[in-house]
């Protein structure tokens, strides 16, 4: 396995490197969003880009790299894509709903929802 990357032709290592750099940048930006954004409802959108494009780029890079290195089709990364697509949205929805109901319960003590609002939260700070 380690007689590795230097034996690969340039036309393989270039897209692999590009995808890895792009994927890592996206993951970094997602994490940055988690740090920078001020409230919960905004922070939930940061990791979403990590999950989709971040993992996507890295998995495609992995498929190309190992296919070229082992001279056979390596595509079991597709399974990771499928499992992520099945699980991540459910988690996002559950976390979102938890937050909404927590704030609803808190808001009920303060005031009634106004008619044009979907939820009486989040209150403007």
């Amino acid at each position: 396995m380690n007689q590795g990357i230097e034996t690969l032709p340039v036309w393989v290592s270039l897209p692999v490197t590009a995808l890895l750099v792009l994927g890592s940048l996206i993951v970094l930006i997602g994490a940055l969003g988690l740090v920078r954004l001020p409230n919960f409802y905004q922070r939930i959108h940061g990791p979403a880009i990590t999950i989709t494009l971040g993992t996507g780029c890295i998995l495609i890079a992995s498929m190309i790299y190992f296919t070229a290195l082992q001279s056979r089709l390596v595509i079991h990364e597709l399974l990771i894509t499928a499992f992520v697509f099945l699980t991540a949205p459910v988690v996002a929805m559950l976390i979102m709903r938890t937050a909404v109901y927590r704030d609803l319960r808190a808001a009920k003590r303060d005031r009634e929802p106004e008619s044009d609002e979907t939820y009486p939260c989040p209150r403007k700070k």
């Binding site: 954004l37 399974l79 979907t118």
Partner: protein
Amino acid sequence: MSRWFPSPPLSVALLVMWLLLNQSLAPGHLLLGALLAVVVPLWAKPLRPMAAVRFKKPIVMARLLGMALVEIVRSCFNVSRIILFTRPDGLNSQFIRVPLDLKHPHGLALLSCLINSTPGTVWVEILPDSHDLALHVFDLHDEAWWIDTIKTRYEQPLIEIFE
């Protein structure tokens, strides 16, 4: 047929998953995979509240998934740009309501997966009293545009597929 294969797509998916996991087409793995493909759907059948839908209109489905993929990549870059370059307090993060006509639970499940996979939107719930979808949008500019996009580009094909 339906007694032994309550859901053929699920059986095929399980077989493919097994072969991919083992990265092999050896007869032994084919046999094990086939065993899984028969046994697991039978065990899982009591857990599924609804019978599986016939897989119809694969072209509409493929076009929907392709469009969703493009949309996911596009909104990834949008969200990245916002995180990097916009001041957080200038963001207009809002809940919006989208009135839905789609009633089929499987269709709704797929719709929620597609919407939640798209960065910048999170599905909250379907409001029980009005069958409206409550949706959280990361940076809202035009509410009507969002409602229109979801209804025409996502919901229409899903209604076509599932109803």
